[in-house]
């Protein structure tokens, strides 16, 4: 076990978990020792479609996209693989009777692969024989399109244990739309995995180990007096946490054995949360467990540092930013949220606290004008219905800019002979196809070389193949070892991207 690990742990004890991350001496010690780099998956989720004119009119020219709607990604053209003419098969199956399923179903499919409806197998069949006065029965029958476990959670189950957080999901204002549809996109065994929506709470959870007591970054601390042997008090802390969690595991197992079938997946999700807590116990590395903050499996990058602590949680009153400029129009300022989450997500990856991240902006049902600073007075959901209207394009382009800023950070972070981006798969998708409020054809894009597995700087005409194939390719490159994503009948096999 390296000396540095013990030093890092001691700092953890003294200053809280976040402190060591700001201490450059250990970053350099560890980064010098690194010879391989973690492979990461980043999912970028755009609500409401990618406004472009699909098709093959421009052949294989990437410029079609990067001189157009993908202009914010211009610096990343050589790092991209653009998949055009993707079929989001959920589009054939989205039920028509009750509202709002299209966004949620489409999104779940784009990130998990299409499956047949459990109950009826298609919109027409679903609508047939449904009691229109019983929405609950209807939902029970037709909801659930999209695989039960999306790609992030499937991979979290395989590689997530190597880091303190199996996966992290961030959503700028995703839960503030009041549209009644948050377009939950990510699922674990049928249970929605919802993004963190409060930047300060996200910061606290990830970098504060639940113990922040004030604002600002902890000051660097001298390493001169750090002990080089395990601290008994810290060992006790670990054992206290471990024994507590062991009891909770036993309780969940006992309850699960007598709970109804429908409830067991809830308890599994709870168990996942507890196991993540175990992964963040301070002495896990020393105890030979999976890598955590300073543990043997951890691979923090050379720029690993605390992101800026968000100024505050969400505003508490409806127009609290009144008078502060163009964001007067709405109280929740998407620019601030996006910037904070970009930083937090970036350092979560760079510090190897997780290798799976999902970033989302708004939800597709958002009913408030978030983009007045762009001159857009409409709400996002209204824009989505506007069939490539000017405001819609402006808003989506702005979100692309936020995505590009994030991906550019990865590209600008050296890692071996390349960059973090070279050792990542950034998968960009939207639930609403090409921006006409329909699900197919869809455009999805990968940035990054996946550690050398992907050849980038090209366009792939998917020719109507289902999104399941792209997801299968990504998942297996990440190490899932799956044969299908979603229902087998919607799989045509993995794509060759090398």
């Amino acid at each position: 076990m390296s000396k540095a690990i013990f030093k890092r742990r001691s700092l953890l004890q003294q200053l809280g978990a976040a402190a060591f991350l700001a201490t450059p001496v250990f970053r350099s010690v560890i980064s010098e020792a690194q010879t391989t780099f973690p492979l990461r998956l980043i999912l970028l989720n755009l609500p409401g479609g990618i406004p472009y004119k699909g098709g093959t009119a421009d052949g294989n020219q990437l410029d079609t996209y990067f001189d157009g709607i993908y202009k914010p990604f211009a610096a990343l053209e050589s790092d991209a693989i653009v998949f055009d003419n993707i079929n989001n098969h959920a589009g054939d199956m989205v039920a028509t009777y009750f509202e709002l399923e299209g966004h949620g179903g489409g999104c779940r499919s784009m990130f998990g692969g299409a499956v047949k409806n459990q109950g009826c197998g298609g919109a027409a069949a679903c609508d047939a024989g449904i009691d229109p006065n019983n929405e609950a029965a209807y939902n029970a029958k037709v909801l659930g399109y999209g695989t039960a476990t999306t790609i992030d959670q499937q991979l979290a189950g395989v590689i997530g244990g190597r880091t303190p957080f199996t996966s992290l999901h961030f959503g700028s204002l995703w839960d503030k739309g009041q549209g009644g549809d948050h377009a939950e996109c990510f699922y674990n065994n049928g249970q929605a995995v919802r993004p963190m929506s409060d930047p300060l709470a996200a910061f606290t959870r990830i970098f504060g180990n639940g113990l922040p007591t004030g604002g600002g970054t902890p000051a660097p601390t001298s390493t001169a007096t750090l002990p080089t042997t395990p601290d008994p008090a810290l060992m006790n802390l670990y054992q206290r946490g471990k024994s507590r969690l062991d009891l909770l595991y036993a309780e969940i197992a006992e309850v699960k054995a007598i709970a109804g079938a429908d409830e067991q997946t809830k308890l599994d999700l709870h168990l996942t949360g507890l196991r993540e807590l175990e992964g963040r116990l301070p002495m896990v590395g020393a105890m030979g467990g999976p890598g955590t903050m300073g543990g043997p499996g951890a691979m923090p990058g050379s720029g690993c540092a605390l992101p800026a602590m968000p100024m505050a949680a969400a505003p508490t009153t409806a127009t609290s930013q009144q008078g502060s400029g163009p964001v007067d129009y709405v109280n929740y300022d998407i620019q601030s949220y996006s910037s904070a989450f970009n930083d937090i997500a970036y350092q979560s990856l760079n510090c190897d606290l997780t290798r799976i991240v999902a970033l989302q902006w708004l939800s597709s049902g958002d009913q408030f004008p978030r983009f007045q600073f762009l001159g857009c007075n409409g709400d996002h959901h209204g824009m989505e219905h506007s069939a490539n209207g000017g405001e819609y394009i402006k808003a989506q382009t702005w979100i692309f800019g936020q995505m590009a800023a994030f991906v550019n950070k990865l590209k600008a972070t050296p890692e071996g002979n390349g960059s973090m981006l070279d050792n990542s798969i950034v998968y960009l998708a939207s639930e609403m196809g090409n921006g006409t409020h329909v699900l197919s054809p869809a455009l999805s894009t990968i940035f990054g070389k996946a550690g050398g597995a992907f050849k980038t700087g090209r366009r792939v005409d998917a020719g109507g193949r289902n999104i399941n194939d792209v997801l299968l390719t990504v998942a297996n490159t990440m190490g899932l070892g799956a044969t299908t994503m979603g229902d087998a009948e919607f799989n045509g096999g993995a794509l060759s991207l090398s």
Partner: protein, 571 residues
């Protein structure tokens, strides 16, 4: 320590139990309602904590009380695993421990897809990784602030066991099972050896506050009865307490559970009516009605500052408080009926709200006072309050579609078809030469849309006298506002109406409206969507209470009395 002698005597007098002398509770301590831990003020009878008297498995009936088996042939709703809502979690902790309710951030509850606004739907309430982390952080914080008093007069192991049994019973809302006791005893022993008595006690608390048995309410019932089960007496006690007070059963409910006092409908009614007289019932029922009119998250509602400059944070807060005070007034000072909720001719206003409503300034500055509404027919009841009208509007304009949908889905419980698949709908463009109604009328004339919008729009149009923050208007863009509305496809209120008060009066007088409030209460009570078979129960309750204007408190009592409250279908 300082109270040890007296409390030991009390403990022995009540229970005669070994280990009662353990003084493990913190100081300062408050006599939290329903606190029942031996050694704590307010200990309830029967909480002896003596091992060996506990049920074999969690969720099975404790003590001697077993409800009768489910009636043959009857169909009941499904058993659910009900995670505490954030409010319930916070309140339960404050009643378990001498600590204020935690205010730390908790992942917000998803809202029910069916009701659109209820936050206690058990299908959506899970313990995510985020929440597990937040629960852990709060538990850590709580025990760090907890002052453990030393164990005197008994071995530390005995003190620990007493604490495990007594605190566990409160936290789990039932006695611990034998296996649970053993696990906690082992946990205590391990921590005792490592860090000492204080660390061991706080370890118990910290663990129990993260236990599934604390975080979820179970409806497991008596497994020996098979698929159709009666709930255990302790489960019924929790159903009642969380339904009406959003928190743990109090001492009287515990006693009723142990003494066979929750078996009959009359016994449950007695308990329900008792709980309804408690202060804790007020925020609980208020929250239900805020969800009913969808104002429970009004603080998240932005408006366009350039269009509605008067919509300040203060006005937003006033709107929310107005509705809360109005609900309280109807429920606790008035006749508590659905009819009054919708048609009362008063509200609570301060200077800014009075200005918005065109009422005389009550003269109390920002303080809201009960204020009669004008007799000009502009407003009546909760539906014409700024909170409700602003909530069902866009940020920059009134939105008749949202208002119509709210009435159909929220107040009449009518599900609506979704837009046709693959339909690209152009948003209604602003036009300063037209009224909102004129713009939306043209929009909805599209044959592909009209199927739904003929149901929605004529209802929403009837509220066009109110702008996007609920200010009354008779003209818009220089043209007269047409607030004539029309109901079709209803049970008993088809026909035209004119304006918000007329709409409210129609719904207040309708059986369909009363059935809907009862159904929403039923969904809230059980934290799930209803099954088809349960609609009959709901409608029966509504029918029986309709003549009196549908007393909302009586609705909750009727639900508690129903067989559905105590029986479940287990899958």
């Amino acid at each position: 320590m300082k109270r040890l002698v007296g409390e030991s005597i009390l403990c022995l007098a009540l229970f005669g139990a070994v280990g009662c002398s353990a003084e493990v509770t913190g100081a300062p301590r408050k006599a939290a309602p329903g606190s029942g831990i031996p050694g704590m003020p307010g200990a309830e009878p029967g909480s002896s904590g003596v091992p060996g008297t506990t049920p074999a498995m969690p969720g099975t009936p404790g003590s001697t009380t077993v409800l009768p088996p489910a009636p043959a042939g009857a169909v009941f709703g499904p058993s659910a695993l009900r995670r505490l809502t954030n409010a319930q979690y916070r309140k339960s902790i404050s009643q378990l421990l001498p600590t204020p309710a935690p205010t730390d951030a908790l992942e917000q509850e998803p809202l029910s897809q069916t009701t659109r606004y209820q936050d206690n739907n058990s299908a959506a309430l899970t313990v995510s990784s985020i929440l597990a982390s937040q629960y852990a952080g709060i538990a850590d914080k709580v025990v760090k602030a907890y002052q453990v008093e030393p164990c005197v007069g008994a071995s530390e192991t005995a003190c620990g066991d007493t604490f495990i049994q007594s605190f566990g019973k409160r936290a789990y809302r039932r006695p611990l099972s034998a296996s649970e006791s053993q696990r906690y005893q082992a946990l205590f022993a391990g921590e005792l050896a490592r860090t000492g008595y204080t660390g061991a006690v706080t370890q118990i608390i910290e663990t129990m506050l993260q236990s599934p048995n604390f975080l979820y309410r179970f409806e497991l019932g008596d497994a020996s009865q098979g698929a159709k089960r009666s709930l255990s007496a302790y489960e019924v006690a929790s159903e009642l307490s969380y339904l009406l007070t959003d928190s743990l059963p109090d001492a009287a409910l515990f006693a009723a559970a142990e003494g066979g006092g929750l078996v009959t409908a009359a016994e449950r009614e007695t308990q329900a009516r008792r709980l309804l007289t408690s202060e804790d019932a007020k925020p609980t029922l208020r929250h239900f009605l805020e969800m009913f009119v969808a104002t429970s998250r009004l603080e998240d509602l932005p408006k366009a500052a350039d269009i509605y400059p008067e919509y300040t944070p203060e006005l937003n807060a006033s709107m929310k408080l107005e509705t809360q005070k109005f609900i309280d007034s109807v429920l606790w000072e008035g006749d508590a009926t659905f009819n009054t909720l919708l048609t009362a001719n008063y509200t609570f206003a301060n200077s800014s709200l009075a200005a918005l409503y065109g009422l005389p300034d009550p003269g109390q500055g920002s303080t809201l006072v009960k204020t009669p509404l004008n007799s000009d027919g502009q407003r009546l009841g909760i539906l014409t309050q700024g909170s409700v009208l602003a909530q069902h509007s866009k940020a920059f304009e009134s939105f008749p579609i949202a208002r119509g949908k709210f009435v159909r889905i929220g107040l009449l419980c009518q599900p609506l078809p979704s837009p046709p698949k693959n339909l690209a709908v152009m948003p209604v463009a602003p036009d300063p030469s037209l009224t909102t109604r004129e713009r939306f009328s043209a929009h909805s004339a599209n044959p592909a849309c009209s199927g739904c919008h003929t149901l929605i729009d004529p209802v929403g149009f009837g509220m066009e006298n109110y702008d996007g923050i609920g200010k009354y208007r008779t003209t818009e863009n220089g043209k007269p506002v047409d607030a004539s509305g029309n109901f079709t496809s209803t049970l008993d209120i088809d026909g035209p109406f004119q304006g918000g008060p007329a709409l409210a009066t129609k719904i207040a007088g309708s059986l369909e409206g009363k059935q809907c409030l009862t159904l929403q209460a039923y969904r809230w009570a059980f934290g799930r969507d209803e099954s088809s078979a349960e609609r009959g129960v709901v409608n029966t309750i509504a029918q029986e209470l309709a003549a009196g204007g549908l007393n909302i408190k009586d609705v909750t009592v009727a639900i508690a009395k129903s067989d559905n409250f105590v029986f479940r279908t287990f899958k």
